[in-house]
Each structure stands twice: as structure tokens, then as C-alpha cells.
């Protein structure tokens, strides 16, 4: 690849960070985005995660770099999109989001005192998940919301990635959660 092409590719990559607490399905959410992009949407994707003893039960994040071209540098430095599932995750990561970026928060878990430079949208993911009967699918609701808001990935690719990543007895619940999030994302 010529050098000029390489430069362009790097500029078209998107950096996404999902952040929250261990146990909320943060890593799974990042995994599903990466898998959807790289296996079902014709894109390249690299997922990395904060990996350390401190990530057990405490703060936790999953990073995905994705786009149409080769991914060299694999880490997320200034996210285009942040999905924050806890107050700490928001406080810690919001300042690094690009001014033209997007921040998605769980409305029940994150209180916003001062609006950030980036566009901010909130969805009551945990509450909606409880209405579906399982609080744990809040991450998938957020993924639906993310898909509608960012249009970085097709719905079909996301559905396939969810189907192939969750235990089969929970497939329909998770797909329903994705729908609910997606609908809210279209309206927000």
C-alpha cells in the first residue's frame, strides 16, 4: 500500500470505548461490536481490554478500533464514541472523547453535571432491561442504541454477532433487548 493511502486509512478509523464495572457485560459488548465489524460487516476491527487484577469487579473497559482499512496502532486514545455504564466510567473517560464525538450513557447510572463538548445522549438501559425481565441485558440494549445512533455497523451484522456470542437459550431475550435499544436510538 502506498504511504498516502495508509494515511487516509488511519484517518478513517473509528475508536470506541465501552466502560463500566466488571459484571455489567462491558467486555462482551466490546467483543460483539468487534466481531460484528470484522466477521459480518466487511470491516476491520481490533478489540483490546483493560487487563489486570484491578479489573476484577472494579472499573472495566473494552476498546474497539474499527474501520474499512488496516488497523496499525491498536489502542484507543481519543474515542469517537464512548458508552459509559457507570459514573466513574463517565468521569474518567468523557474528557478524552473527541469534541465531534458521541457519548452514550445509561441514564439511571450516570448523572451529568456539566455537559461535555461531545454530543451526549442518554438511554435508561438498566430500567428497560428490567422491564424485559433481566437486568443483565442492559449492555445489549446499549448496543442497540449505539447501532442506531452511530450507524457504524449494520443491524444485521450486530444481530449475527449477538446470536453467535450469547448462550443459545438467551438468544431471543438478547435480540429483543437489541431491538428495544435500537428503537430508542432512532428516537433519541
Amino acid at each position: 500500500m502506498a504511504a498516502a493511502q495508509l494515511v487516509q486509512v488511519a484517518q478513517e478509523l473509528r475508536e470506541i470505548r465501552i466502560a463500566g464495572f466488571g459484571g455489567q457485560g462491558v467486555i462482551l459488548a466490546g467483543f460483539i461490536i468487534g466481531k460484528a465489524a470484522s466477521l459480518y460487516d466487511g470491516q476491520e476491527a481490533t478489540m483490546t481490554q483493560a487487563y489486570g487484577p484491578e479489573s476484577r469487579g472494579g472499573a472495566c473497559s473494552a476498546d474497539v478500533v474499527m474501520g474499512k482499512g488496516e488497523i496499525g496502532y491498536p489502542k484507543v486514545k481519543s474515542p469517537h464514541v464512548l458508552v459509559a455504564m457507570s459514573q466513574e466510567a463517565y468521569t474518567l473517560n468523557a474528557p478524552h472523547v473527541r469534541p465531534d464525538g458521541l457519548i452514550i450513557v445509561d441514564a439511571d447510572l450516570v448523572k451529568i453535571e456539566r455537559p461535555p463538548a461531545a454530543r451526549l445522549v442518554a438511554v435508561p438501559a438498566t430500567r428497560l432491561a428490567e422491564q424485559l425481565g433481566k437486568k443483565v441485558v442492559a449492555n445489549i440494549i446499549l448496543l442497540g442504541f449505539f447501532t442506531a445512533q452511530t450507524r457504524l455497523l449494520s443491524q444485521e451484522a450486530m444481530r449475527k454477532a449477538i446470536q453467535s456470542s450469547v448462550p443459545s437459550r438467551f438468544t431471543s431475550l438478547n435480540l429483543r433487548a437489541f431491538e428495544v435499544g435500537y428503537e430508542h436510538g432512532l428516537k433519541a
Partner: protein, 387 residues
């Protein structure tokens, strides 16, 4: 080969699991190891997958025993491997030497982390590069490969098996925590497209067989225990029959051959990748995960009008001496980026002639920022302009 051993298709998997799948796909049926972060996923995957394909997984008491077990399995005729990191790699050193002396094919995956000692169990590093080359006592040559992605973890583990059988030497896959834990698409080809390692079995009858008499490429043929050939395998200096011969003459002959079988064939072993080198004035040399950082830094340098190119070492040992020597005459400065305090850069300096060498170093913990490497490229370009 059982269908289950090759998971043909596209996967979103991490580098550790891809190493295990690479081994399984090309016929590895024995793994002995001791779990250690960040290499545990290799062992975990093997523990689950080997029984599915009729193979054997043993969790050993430590890494000394793990290394010994895979040497034994290899002599029993099985393709064998182990994986480890930092402290475990240190423990394996003595028996890696035994593998070199007894010319026993096998594969060792080292998912590097920050050291010395227990260091940084969960964080990356490339501090074992010289240990890979010189860590076991005595004189030898070794083969080591450095994957930069999960796909290469798969591909290079297979390559490692091919090389280890071809040259009868333990082959080291020098991964790191970042590549080991990073998830990306890994394409596993159909079983009939996967190259399989070939054990170089004796072509002569049992009576005329001489265990360590080399072929033309200096590598002897290798029967398995139980094939009926008379063999004696020892870590002591031995004659061509394999019997201990602890004298200077036998030692000279054996060690020269162990070294030359790699050196003389080095041109067939090297694998390199070059980009932007056509018009480069500054050449970056990097390997493994750092090559990806260097590639981004190279792009940034180009955006700023510096003609930078990248030489990525896929094979790190043996070192591509001639290519680096030639490169040094093509460009005005060399930059080496690595996650240690200066290891492969010394090797580059040996062959750089009068071309200045700059290094972008970090002792592990996390990968460099592209900007850090860029700063060194800028410094190199400035110095080159003055000279």
C-alpha cells in the same frame, strides 16, 4: 486428521487462542505446560481442545518439567509444544538447551510480559529477545518468530512447527501480552490448505543408520522411539552415533554443525516485510506489536514530509544480517523501536556500518505511542540532514 482439529472459517479471537489453534491445525497433539499470565489462554485452549482431537494435554509441576515433557513427546514421534511467559521462560532455558543439543523439534510460545522476575504479569513487554537468543548456556543458533497480530499467531505457530522439523531445533514464537490478549479476525483455511510439518524419518535401513550423521543441509534424520532404530540421545557432547564423546574434537565438530545448520540455511529461514522503503531516507526496524506502532509512526512521518520506511522482522533469529547491512547503505539513518531498554538495536548496530542508529525504547508496561516513535524518526531525519 480429525476434522475438529482445523476450525476452518473466520473467527474473532485473541492471539493466545490463535497460537493454540495454529498448533492444533498443523498436527500438534501434545502440550505440556504450566499456566502463567499472559500465556494461560494458550494452555487453557489446549486443555479443552487436545482431548477432542485425540491428543494429550498435561499440566506439569513447573516449566522445567514442561519443557522436558515436550522433548520426550517429540522423540515419541508427536508434534509437541508448550507456552509460557517471563519467569517460566527462564525456567525452560536449561531444557531448551537440551532440545538444541539433542536436535529435538518442538515449539515454545513465549507471550512476553514486563520483567525482570515476576515483573508485570498482566502487562506487555519485549524484554526476552536476547534471552531467546542466548538464554541457555553454551553456543548455539536458534529460530525465533515475532507475530504482530492474532492472525500471525496462528500462521507463525504453524511456521514454527515446519521450521522445527526442517532444522531439528526448538522454535520460539515470541508473542507478547498485547498481541496475546488482543482480539481480531483470524481466518483459518481449509484443512487441505494448511502446510503440515514433516518429520525427517530415516531413509536408510536399521543396520546402516547412524543417529546423528547429517544430511547435506547438516540436519540428521530422526527416528521415533519404537521405530526399531538404535538411538542414544544425550545432552552430553556426542559423536555421530549419539554416544557421549566428551573431547575437544567431537565438541568442535558437533557445535559447528549445530550452529551451521541454521547459519548456512538462514537465507531460507528469514521472513521480512518492507513498506515505504522505495524512497526511504529513514528506515525503522521493528518486530511484533511494536511494528504496528512503528507503521503508524511511519505514516505520521510521511504526513510531515519525512520519507520513512519500515522493515518488519517476522523472523527475529537468525537475524537478517545482510539485509540490514544493505539497508544501512540505502538510507541515511536507522531507527529501532522495541519494548525493552535496547536489545535488537544492538544487533542492528553490528551491521549498520557508519549509518547512525537511533532507538525508541520503553521497558514494557504498555506499547509506545506512535508520537514517541515519530519524535525519534524526526530526530534521526534532522541528524541525517546535517550529515
Amino acid at each position: 486428521m480429525s476434522d475438529l482439529s482445523v476450525l476452518t472459517g473466520e473467527h474473532f479471537m485473541n492471539g493466545d487462542i490463535a497460537c493454540a489453534e495454529g498448533g492444533l491445525a498443523c498436527g500438534c497433539r501434545f502440550f505440556a505446560g504450566y499456566p502463567i499470565t499472559p500465556a494461560t489462554e494458550v494452555a487453557e485452549r489446549m486443555a479443552r481442545r487436545l482431548p477432542e482431537v485425540g491428543g494429550v494435554y498435561i499440566q506439569m509441576e513447573d516449566e522445567i518439567a514442561s519443557m522436558n515433557a515436550i522433548l520426550g513427546a517429540s522423540w515419541a514421534g508427536t508434534f509437541s509444544m508448550t507456552s509460557t511467559s517471563g519467569p517460566g521462560f527462564s525456567l525452560m532455558m536449561e531444557n531448551i538447551g537440551l532440545g538444541i543439543m539433542t536436535e529435538t523439534p518442538c515449539v515454545v510460545v513465549n507471550v512476553q510480559r514486563g520483567g525482570p522476575s515476576t515483573g508485570l504479569p498482566t502487562l506487555t513487554g519485549q524484554g526476552d529477545m536476547m534471552q531467546a537468543r542466548w538464554g541457555s548456556h553454551g553456543d548455539y543458533e536458534i529460530i525465533a518468530l515475532a507475530p504482530q497480530s492474532p492472525q500471525e499467531c496462528f500462521d507463525l505457530t504453524i511456521e514454527a512447527f515446519l521450521l522445527s522439523e526442517q532444522y531439528r531445533v526448538p522454535v520460539l514464537v515470541m508473542s507478547d501480552e498485547m498481541v496475546g490478549h488482543m482480539m481480531e479476525r483470524v481466518v483459518i483455511p481449509p484443512a487441505d490448505k494448511i502446510p503440515l510439518p514433516v518429520r525427517r524419518k530415516p531413509r536408510v535401513d536399521k543396520d546402516s543408520f547412524v543417529a546423528f550423521a547429517p544430511c547435506e543441509d547438516l540436519v540428521p534424520e530422526m527416528p521415533s522411539a519404537g521405530d526399531g532404530y538404535r538411538i542414544h540421545v544425550t545432552g552430553l557432547t556426542h559423536d555421530e552415533r549419539g554416544y557421549p564423546a566428551t573431547n575437544a574434537r567431537a565438541h568442535d565438530r558437533l557445535v559447528r554443525r549445530l550452529v551451521d545448520k541454521i547459519r548456512n540455511n538462514a537465507h531460507k529461514i528469514f521472513r521480512l516485510e518492507e513498506s515505504g522503503m522505495e524512497d526511504a531516507e529513514v528506515a525503522i526496524i521493528a518486530y511484533g506489536i511494536t511494528a504496528r506502532v512503528a507503521r503508524r509512526a511511519m505514516q505520521m512521518a510521511r504526513e510531515r514530509g519525512i520519507r520513512a520506511g519500515l522493515l518488519r522482522l517476522i523472523t527475529v533469529w537468525p537475524f537478517p544480517e545482510e539485509r540490514v547491512r544493505r539497508l544501512a547503505t540505502q538510507v541515511r539513518a536507522l531507527v529501532v523501536a522495541e519494548l525493552n531498554m535496547g536489545q535488537m538495536v544492538r544487533e542492528v548496530e553490528r551491521f549498520s556500518g557508519s549509518t547512525p542508529v537511533f532507538s525508541a525504547l520503553r521497558p514494557g508496561g504498555e506499547i509506545q505511542e506512535p508520537g514517541e516513535v515519530l519524535a525519534v524518526i524526526e530526530r534521526a531525519a534532522k541528524a541525517a540532514a546535517k550529515s
